[in-house]
Symmetry: C2
Subunit: 740 residues, 2 copies
C-alpha cells in the first residue's frame, strides 16, 4: 500500500476552469457540517450572491448557471423555503475565508505569480492541504501551506491553519472572515443576518432563514502577537491584522469555526466551547483517530491499479463523511457537497447507499432505515395528500419525510420508493440478523405502506389480476406506465412482509393476494418487459439524435420524444434482476441485457453500476470493467461540480465487493458467500465485511480467496460453493477460484 494511494490530488490547482469540480471532490464533512473545497482566499470575479430563479426540471438535463466557483456550507436539516422548488437545504454563510496580502498585494491564483501550487485531500485523515509558493510583486518569495478539516471528533467544529514563510522581511495583512453573501441555488433564504465581534479575536455570525431555522457561526482567529481589527458590512465581516514578516521565520495562523443551529440535540452554549482555543494539532489528532477507526471497518484495498484504488477510496471517503451519525436526517444524492438535489432524500438511500453501511458499519446502516421509520408520519401525510390511506414515502423527502418534489411526473408516479423503503428495512433486518427490526420496529411501516398499496392497486375490468397503473419505474424516461416489473416485484415483496405481520386475516389475505398476483409483464418469447407498453414505444434513431455523446441524451432531444420512445435513462429490468438474482435464470438476464442495453442512455449516474454487476453475473468481464471505470469516473473531470454522485459511489463499493468480490447480500444468502470475479487488472482485492454481526476480512488474489474470521464465534463461509466453518480469529483459504 503506497502512501499516494490515500491522496486525492488536484493536478493543477490554479486551473480555474476545473475549480468547481474540485470544490465538490474536496468537500469535507463531519456528518453535522459539510463544506465544499473552495479556496480560502476565493476568486475575485466569482460572486456568490447572484440571484436567479431555479425552476423545477429534470436535473439530468438541467443547466446550472455558469459559475467559476460555488461555495457550499451545509448543515443537513437546515432548510430554506424556495417558492418554486419547495424546501431545500440552505447554503449557509461561508467561514473559510483566510486572505493573505503581502506588501499590499492580495493573493489571487490568477493574478499572482505562483510556483509549486499543490492541493490534495488526504483521504485517510480527511485533511485538505494546499501549498504554494508566491513571488510577490515586491520581490518576496512566500511559502504558504493551508490545511483544514471538519472535525470528525467534534462535528460542530471546522479547523483551519495557514503556515506562511517569507524569504525576506515583508508586510503581511491577514483577513479571516465569514461571508453571508451566498445563495442557495440562486435564492436568498436569509431573513436576518447579524455580525458581532466577541472579545479580541472572535467573530460571530447569526442568520435566520425563511423557514425560521437559525444558524450561528463563531470563528476564532489565533496568531501570536497579532492585533485584530473588526471590519463588518451588511452581509460579511472579517478580522484583520497587520503582521510583520521576518525573513525565514514562519508564522502560523489558526482559525477554528464552531457552527450551531436550532436543530442541535441538547443545548449548546456557544461561549463554552473550549475547542475554539484548542491547538490545531490537538484537534487534528483526535479527528484523525476517528477516521482511522472508520477506515479499519471500511477500506477496500486494490492492488495493481492505483487509479481504481484512489477513486474507490474517494468514494468511501464521501460515504463515510456524508453519514450524519444519527437518524434525524439521511444522505442526500449529492452527499451534501452541492445544492443540486436540495439536500432531500430519495430511494438512493435504500438501493445504493445502504449496502455499504450494512456490511461495514451496521449500526450506522440502521440509522438510515431508522430515518424511514421515524418519518412514517410524513409518509402518512403524503398519502392523505394524494387521497389514500396508509403511508406513501416521498420521492424527494425532507427531514420529516414530507414530499418536496416539485415535478409532478416524478412525485406522482415514481411510487416504487414506498416499496423500496420496505426493502431497505428488510435488508437491514437480514444483514444484522435482527428479525424483530422488521416485525417490531418496522411493523407500522409495513402495515401503513400496505394500506396505501391496497388502495393504489387497481383491478382492471377485463383482467383476472391486479395491476399497478400509471407508474414510473426506475427508468425515468417512461413516465406513466402500467405494471412496471420492478415496481410490481418490489410492491409484492413489501406486501408479503406486511402480510407476515398483519393480524387481521382479511387484510392479510388481501396483501398476499396482491403480492402473488401483481404481474411481471413478459413478451411472447419470455422477455421480461419493463412495463406492459414498452414495445408500444417508438424506436429511436440514437445515431441521428445523440450527436454529442459527452452530454446526456436528454439534453439533446425534447422530453416529448424521450417520453414516447424506447430509450432508458437507467437500468430498470436489470436492476430488478440485480436485486432478485435467484428469480431470473441466466438466460432471462442475458435476454434482458441484450434487449435493453442498446436502448439505455445511462443518463443517470445510477445506471453504469447496475450494468457492471449484471455484466459480471453474465461473465462479460470486459463490459463489466468498462462500466466500472465509467461509474468510478463519474465525479472526476467536472462531474462533482454540483456535488458528489453519492449513490454511484455507493454502487462503486457494491461493484467492488458484490461484483468483483462476489459477496452475496444477506437478501440472497444465509451464510457469508463469495463468488469472486477478480479483474485481470488487479493483483489483489481485500475488504472487511460484517456478516450478521460477525466481523470478517476477505482477501482475493488470482491465486485464491482467504477469509479471516475476526469475530468471537464460528463463521460459516462459502466460496464458489465450497463451505467452511472458520473458528474465531482463524482464516480459511480457497485456492484458485478468484477468476471466473
Amino acid at each position: 500500500m503506497t502512501s499516494e494511494n490515500w491522496w486525492l490530488s488536484q493536478p493543477e490547482p490554479s486551473d480555474v476552469a476545473a475549480l468547481k469540480g474540485w470544490e465538490g471532490l474536496f468537500t469535507q464533512g463531519s456528518g453535522y457540517l459539510h463544506v465544499r473545497g473552495s479556496l480560502e482566499e476565493h476568486l475575485s470575479d466569482a460572486p456568490q450572491n447572484q440571484s436567479y430563479m431555479r425552476r423545477p426540471a429534470n436535473v439530468t438535463a438541467e443547466q446550472f448557471p455558469d459559475m467559476r466557483s460555488k461555495w457550499g456550507t451545509f448543515v443537513p436539516g437546515i432548510y430554506g423555503n424556495h417558492p418554486l422548488m419547495g424546501k431545500e437545504m440552505a447554503n449557509l454563510p461561508c467561514f473559510l475565508q483566510i486572505v493573505p496580502s503581502v506588501d499590499g498585494e492580495r493573493l489571487d491564483i490568477r493574478q499572482s505569480a505562483l510556483l509549486h501550487h499543490q492541493r490534495a485531500l488526504n483521504l485517510k485523515t480527511a485533511l485538505l492541504s494546499r501549498s504554494l509558493t508566491w513571488h510577490t510583486q515586491s520581490g518576496a518569495r512566500i511559502d504558504l501551506t493551508f490545511e483544514r478539516f471538519a472535525s470528525a471528533a467534534q462535528p460542530h467544529l471546522f479547523v483551519q491553519r495557514l503556515i506562511l514563510t517569507s524569504d525576506r522581511d515583508a508586510h503581511l495583512l491577514l483577513e479571516a472572515g465569514i461571508d453571508a453573501g451566498v445563495r442557495t441555488s440562486g435564492y436568498d433564504h436569509f431573513t436576518q443576518v447579524r455580525f458581532e465581534r466577541l472579545g479580541a479575536a472572535r467573530l460571530r455570525c447569526d442568520v435566520v432563514l425563511d423557514t425560521g431555522d437559525e444558524v450561528h457561526e463563531i470563528s476564532q482567529a489565533r496568531l501570536g502577537g497579532a492585533t485584530w481589527d473588526y471590519v463588518a458590512g451588511e452581509r460579511a465581516a472579517h478580522l484583520r491584522a497587520a503582521i510583520p514578516l521576518h525573513a525565514g521565520q514562519s508564522i502560523t495562523f489558526e482559525k477554528a469555526t464552531l457552527v450551531t443551529t436550532n436543530i442541535d440535540e441538547g443545548e449548546l452554549i456557544l461561549s463554552d466551547f473550549d475547542s475554539l482555543d484548542t491547538p490545531f494539532d490537538t484537534l487534528l489528532a483526535e479527528h484523525a483517530a476517528v477516521w482511522q477507526r472508520r477506515w479499519e471497518h471500511a477500506d477496500v484495498r486494490i492492488s495493481g491499479d492505483n487509479h481504481s484504488q484512489i477513486a474507490l477510496r474517494a468514494a468511501l471517503y464521501h460515504l463515510l463523511r456524508a453519514h450524519p451519525g444519527h437518524d434525524r436526517v439521511a444522505i442526500d444524492p449529492k452527499a451534501y457537497a452541492g445544492d443540486a438535489y436540495r439536500g432531500l432524500y430519495f430511494w438512493d438511500t435504500e438501493m445504493y447507499l445502504l449496502p455499504f453501511f450494512l456490511y461495514t458499519d451496521p449500526e450506522r446502516a440502521r440509522m438510515l432505515t431508522d430515518f424511514r421509520i421515524r418519518t412514517l408520519l410524513g409518509a402518512q401525510r403524503n398519502a392523505a395528500e394524494f387521497g389514500y390511506a396508509g403511508a406513501r414515502y416521498p420521492w424527494e423527502g425532507d427531514a420529516d419525510g414530507i414530499e418536496q418534489c416539485p415535478n409532478w411526473q416524478y412525485r406522482d408516479h415514481e411510487v416504487h420508493v414506498t416499496a423500496d423503503v420496505v426493502y431497505g428495512l428488510a435488508h437491514t433486518a437480514q444483514a444484522t440478523a435482527q428479525p424483530d427490526y422488521l416485525a417490531q420496529d418496522g411493523r407500522a411501516v409495513l402495515r401503513e405502506t400496505a394500506a396505501y398499496w391496497l388502495e393504489r392497486i387497481d383491478g382492471r375490468p377485463d383482467d383476472a389480476y391486479p395491476s399497478l397503473l400509471g407508474v414510473m419505474g426506475p427508468d425515468e424516461y417512461a413516465p406513466i406506465t402500467n405494471n412496471n416489473a420492478y415496481t410490481n416485484r418490489m410492491v409484492a415483496f413489501a406486501l408479503s412482509l406486511a402480510a407476515a405481520v398483519e393480524a387481521d386475516e382479511g387484510l392479510r389475505e388481501r396483501c398476499l393476494s396482491s403480492a402473488h398476483n401483481l404481474p411481471l409483464p413478459r413478451r411472447a418469447d419470455g422477455l421480461l418487459l419493463q412495463c406492459e407498453e414498452f414495445e408500444q414505444f417508438a424506436e429511436i434513431d440514437f445515431a441521428a439524435l445523440w450527436r454529442d455523446r459527452t452530454k446526456p441524451f436528454a439534453a439533446q432531444v425534447s422530453q416529448e420524444r424521450l417520453y414516447r420512445s424506447r430509450c432508458l435513462k437507467q437500468a430498470d429490468v436489470l436492476l430488478l434482476m440485480m436485486l432478485f438474482p435467484g428469480e431470473f435464470s441466466d438466460a432471462e438476464v442475458s435476454q434482458a441485457w441484450a434487449y435493453y442495453l442498446p436502448y439505455t442512455t445511462h443518463d443517470s449516474s445510477l445506471s453504469p453500476g447496475v450494468h457492471a454487476l449484471i455484466a459480471l453475473r453474465l461473465g462479460f468481464a470486459d463490459q463489466a470493467w468498462a462500466f466500472w471505470e465509467r461509474s468510478l469516473h463519474l465525479d472526476f473531470d467536472g462531474g462533482a461540480e454540483e456535488g458528489i454522485h453519492i449513490a454511484a459511489q455507493g454502487m462503486n463499493w457494491q461493484i467492488a465487493v458484490f461484483g468483483f468480490g462476489g459477496l452475496r447480500t444477506a437478501m440472497q444468502a444465509d451464510v457469508l458467500t463469495l463468488n469472486p470475479h477478480l479483474p485481470h487488472q488487479w493483483t489483489q482485492l481485500a475488504f472487511p465485511v460484517v456478516w450478521k454481526g460477525q466481523q470478517a476480512y476477505v482477501e482475493i488474489t488470482p491465486d485464491g480467496v482467504s477469509i479471516e474470521n475476526r469475530s468471537e464465534q464460528d463463521l460459516t463461509a462459502s466460496v464458489h460453493g465450497t463451505s467452511v466453518v472458520i473458528a474465531p480469529g482463524q482464516g480459511s483459504i480457497w485456492h484458485g477460484q478468484a477468476h471466473t
Copy 2:
C-alpha cells in the same frame, strides 16, 4: 320579440359575493379594447394591487385567489412577461373610476343606504347601465344613472356618463381617475408608470411593460361649470371637482377615455382625438349603429323560452365583442374578459369559435384563420424548438404564434392543434367557396405542418402501420397516449390536403400513405377507442371520489389518479364523430355514447356542447336539452368570474344552429342543408346564415321550415332531404318537418 330579451340584468347589483361573476358577464369590448364590468366607484376593501405568484397548473382545477372584485382592462397583443407562465396579456390601468361623494359621504354599495339598485347590459347596443337611489346620511335622496360602452365605431374609445339628481341641495364631490395599481394574475408587469394632467380636464397615464410594450390612456372629464383639481400618486391619479347640487336639478358628467399602444396600426396622435370632446349621445349613436348591423347578421331568435333567448344573445354578444376585426390577434378562451388563459390562442379558435363567424360574417371568420397563416413563422420556430422540421402550432400561442404553454404535458403532447389549424383553413375555404384559400393562401401551412407530421409520426417495429405516439387528445385526463383516434383522423385530414398541394411526388406519396394508414383504434366489438390504451386504464369509483358535483372532478382527486383512470375531461371520440359525422354509423356513435358518457366528467366547458350535438344526432332530445342548458348556463352563477367561456358560447351557437336548427356545415354538405330538431320548449327558432357567399334567413317552427334567399343568385336548399332552388329575394317553406 320583447324588449327584455335584449337585457342581461344583474338581479342584485349590491350582492358583493356575485360581483366578480358579473364583472365577467358585463365585459364590454371594441375588439381593440376590453373592460370588465367593475363598479365605477369600486369596493373599498378589494385591493387590486396584491401580488402573488401564479404557477403553471391545470386551469380547470386551479384555485384563483379569493378577490371580491377583479378589474380587467385588456388590449389583445399587449403582453407582460411572467417569470413562470410565459407571456401573458397584461391587465392595464383601470380608467373606469367615477366616485361621487355627497355631503362628505362616499358612495359605497355596502355602506350606503341604497334603493332601487339596478344594473343591466343592453345586448343590442352593448351599453351597460346602472341606476340606483341613494339615501345619504345627510338626508338627501340621490338618483344616479351610470352608463358606459366601448365604442364599436371608434375602438380606441371608452365612453361613460353619470346623471345624478338630488332631492335637496347638497354638496357633491366627484372623482374621475385612472388607477394603475393593478396586477395581471397577481404579477406587476409595469416597469414605468407616469401620470400627467393635460389641460383643464384631461388626465393622461403612460405605462411601459416588462415586454417593452407601451400603453397610453387619456381620460377627458366633462361637467359644465366644474373646476377640476389634479390629485396624483405613484400608481393612481384623478381629477376632482366640488359641485353644488340643487334640489331636483340633474347634473350630467361624462368621461371619455382613449387608449393607444405601440401595436396600433398607423400613427395615433393623441391630441388629435376630437372624440374625447364629442358628446356621449353622439358617440353612442354611432356605436349602436355598428351593433345594429352586427345583430342583423348574427342574431338567433328563440321564441317561447326567454331564458334561452337571453343567454344565447349574451353568448353572441361576447363573440361579436371579442373579435378583433383584424388578423393580428385572435380570440382567447376567456374572450378578453379575464386573465385566466393569459390572452393566448388555443385550438378553441378553429373548433369552437370559427363556425359562428363562418356562417354569419365570413370576412371576420377568415381573419381568424388568416391569423394562423400569419403566425406560420412562429409555428416553424416551435417545431425547431422541439427538434422537428416544418411547423408546429402552439397549444397556447401568443400573437406571433410562439408557444407559451407552461405545462409540459399539454405543450408537449397536445399536438392535435397543428392539424386543427388545417381543418380550420379547410372549413373557411369550404364555407366561403374559395378553394384558393387552401391551395394558395394556406399552401405553406399545409406543407409545413405536413413536414412536421412526417417527422412526428413513428413506425413501430412490429406494426405494419404508422402511429402517432405520446399524444394527448382533446380529453386532457389521458396525458400521453398512442394513436388517439381524434388526433389521428385530424392529422390524416391535414396530410390529405397537403398531398393535394404537394408537387414533389415522393413527399405526396408519404403524406398520402400516412393519411391512409394512421389507425383509428377499435375494440374487438368495433367500439372506437379514444386511444390504444383506453381499456388499460383503471375503472374509477366516481360515487366515492366525486363528492361535490358542483365542483370539477379534478379538484377532488389527485392528478395522478386522473391520469391512470377511465375518466374523461371532455368529449374526445364524440367530438371526432361530431366533426366527421358521415364516417360513423348511428350504431357506432350510439355505442361510443353509451361507453364514454359514464366516464365523462365534463370538467371542461368544451364538453357539454359536443354532447348536446351528438345527443341530437342520436335522437336523445331530453339529453340534448339538458346539455344545452348546462352549456348555456356555464357563465352564470359565478361561471364568468375569471372570464367568459367563449368556446362554449361558440358551441352554444352551434347547438342552436347546427343542432336544433340542423344546419349541416360546409364540410358536410355542398348545398344549404337543414335537418332541424326544434325542441318542444320552443315555438320558433330563426337565424340568418351565409352559405358560400349567399345570405339566407331560416325560420323553424313546429309547423315547418322556411328559408328566405337574401342573396342575388339562386340558392339551392335542402330540408330533411327535400331540395329546392330558391330565387333571389324569395322564400321557400317546408311543412311539418321541424321535429324529429
